[in-house]
Assembly symmetry: C2
């Protein structure tokens, strides 16, 4: 009923003083505007202007409509700009899903240069998914998944960004501290600290404890890496973390790093995307940035 053209006419008449001038502005004839506005006035049941001689003066209704015009039109114009930017891949929101708790620190270091390079792209990070990270990707909840477990499925595309070794972190003077490597049996009388996720998503279980049918004395969880490592430092438990992360914290806390098993546990971090999004420039750019990123400890290829 009130259409965009009506708002534009009210605004243009106010700006240029007459219907004729407004018509020129809007690239139509004066007649067209006269007809159009007449129809709106009939529809509303009130004139927008008082016709005084050959000039128009806004009525109360007209003044109100002018207010609406001034509020709505900029919104629409701005929306069009933004949508066209989105169309050209210059603007958007990159929604990143994380399935790798300790990677958060790494992510922050990649996001920072990305935001500088793509000022019109926003970044959202989510960590909870009802149907797992892959589900979130397929459901368009997220656009990029950071995960150690690539799940090859048609429509999705995973690419590795860095390798690392998962290691055991213990207190500096812990009995395992000096060892060349730890065995599953060594954890039988230990308290194990992990992030609060299902055990089948924890490598320490799937690749280390379960194969040897070992269960640690206790299993406690912590959301925050910092807290977890302070617990480790005060010898209240041991934790399994990426080597680069553990070594980072080892500078500040009295902790030691021990290989898990004779050969260690090798891991990779992958970035997953939808194949359909292959054309999105800023997504490609993010993956490139992530792949190029050198770890501060230079551990990314050290294992």
């Amino acid at each position: 009923m009130i259409e965009r053209i009506h708002l534009r006419v009210v605004q243009a008449v106010e700006q240029h003083g007459s219907l004729t001038a407004a018509a020129k502005e809007l690239c139509v004839t004066q007649s067209a505007l006269s007809h159009t506005m007449r129809k709106l006035e009939d529809n509303l049941g009130t004139p927008i202007w008082l016709r005084e001689g050959r000039s128009l003066r806004l009525t109360q209704a007209g003044r109100y409509l002018l207010n609406i015009s001034n509020r709505v039109l900029p919104l629409l114009r701005h929306a069009e700009d933004k949508l066209k930017q989105i169309a050209q891949g210059e603007r958007g929101t990159l929604r990143i899903g994380m399935e790798c708790h300790p990677c958060y620190q790494w992510l922050l270091k990649v996001v920072s240069p990305f935001l500088d390079a793509w000022p019109d792209v926003d970044v959202d990070v989510k960590q909870k998914f009802q149907f797992g990270g892959v589900g979130a990707l397929l459901d368009y909840e997220i656009d990029l998944l950071v995960t150690p477990d690539p799940f090859y499925k048609s429509g999705l595309c995973f690419s590795p960004v860095f390798d690392y070794e998962q290691v055991l972190v213990v207190a500096k003077h812990h009995v395992l501290a000096g060892r060349q490597y730890a065995l599953a049996e060594d954890l039988r009388d230990q308290v194990l600290l992990t992030y609060p996720v299902a055990t089948d998503r924890l490598d320490i279980y799937t690749q280390f404890l379960n194969p040897a049918a070992v269960v640690p004395k206790h299993h406690k969880t912590s959301e925050a890496t910092e807290i977890m490592l302070q617990m480790v430092a005060s010898d209240r438990g041991v934790a399994a973390l990426p080597r680069w992360l553990a070594e980072e914290y080892a500078k500040k806390l009295p902790i030691s790093v021990v290989r898990l098993g004779k050969d260690g546990i090798a891991k990779q971090i992958y970035l997953g995307t939808r194949e359909g999004d292959a054309g999105i420039e800023y997504l490609k750019a993010f993956i490139d940035l992530a792949r190029d990123y050198e770890h501060p400890a230079g551990v990314s290829d050290s294992q």
Copy 2:
């Protein structure tokens, strides 16, 4: 370019889950919406939805457009409601102009029941006019003029709302206090207090001092009635005010009232409107309320 229909479709599809359902909601065929939205997508250069099988899933652009829809559509719907209320005279803004300083107190007492009776009508009061009250009326700066000086002119319409007597107010023990009436000469050695307006708009000059060619000793001005009367009470000057107003204040301040001249100065207050506004219900209602209002002192017809 982005038209109202596009916003409505995006919203309806989100609400009802499919184009077909949205089409039913909007009372058109599915085909119409498909065509319409396709055109917008071509225009923007980006799809609004991803077509997955037979269902639609919003793209980033689509989500953005949905946001805009949720912001803009309620604005427009509300505007239509309001405009139709304005059309039916149920809603509006009554802009009142005052050319009679002391009437302000009276006005407040009329406005109060008016606002109760017309909850959807706002009231604005203005006191300064570049081209006088009549000019403001003709220029649509105001819709109603409160004035003691009706200025009959085609297109305008004045109706009296009450009569009153303009009297001299003096301190209780002033030399004129006991007099039956004052003469112009009595003011020759007095300080005269008035509102800060031109002398040709002050009755005390036009109807009293000027005919007798008398000029008071001093002429001081004050915006506020209360202040002016406190000055009078402390015998720093005399003032000319409506009798009803003076008697109101006489209850609280040590002041006396003296007739101006043998026959007194009779005044009326008029309400002026544009003839073209004769159909506005709430305007008529205001004038009726004003005319019916009885002065607290019952002075309106006492002179």
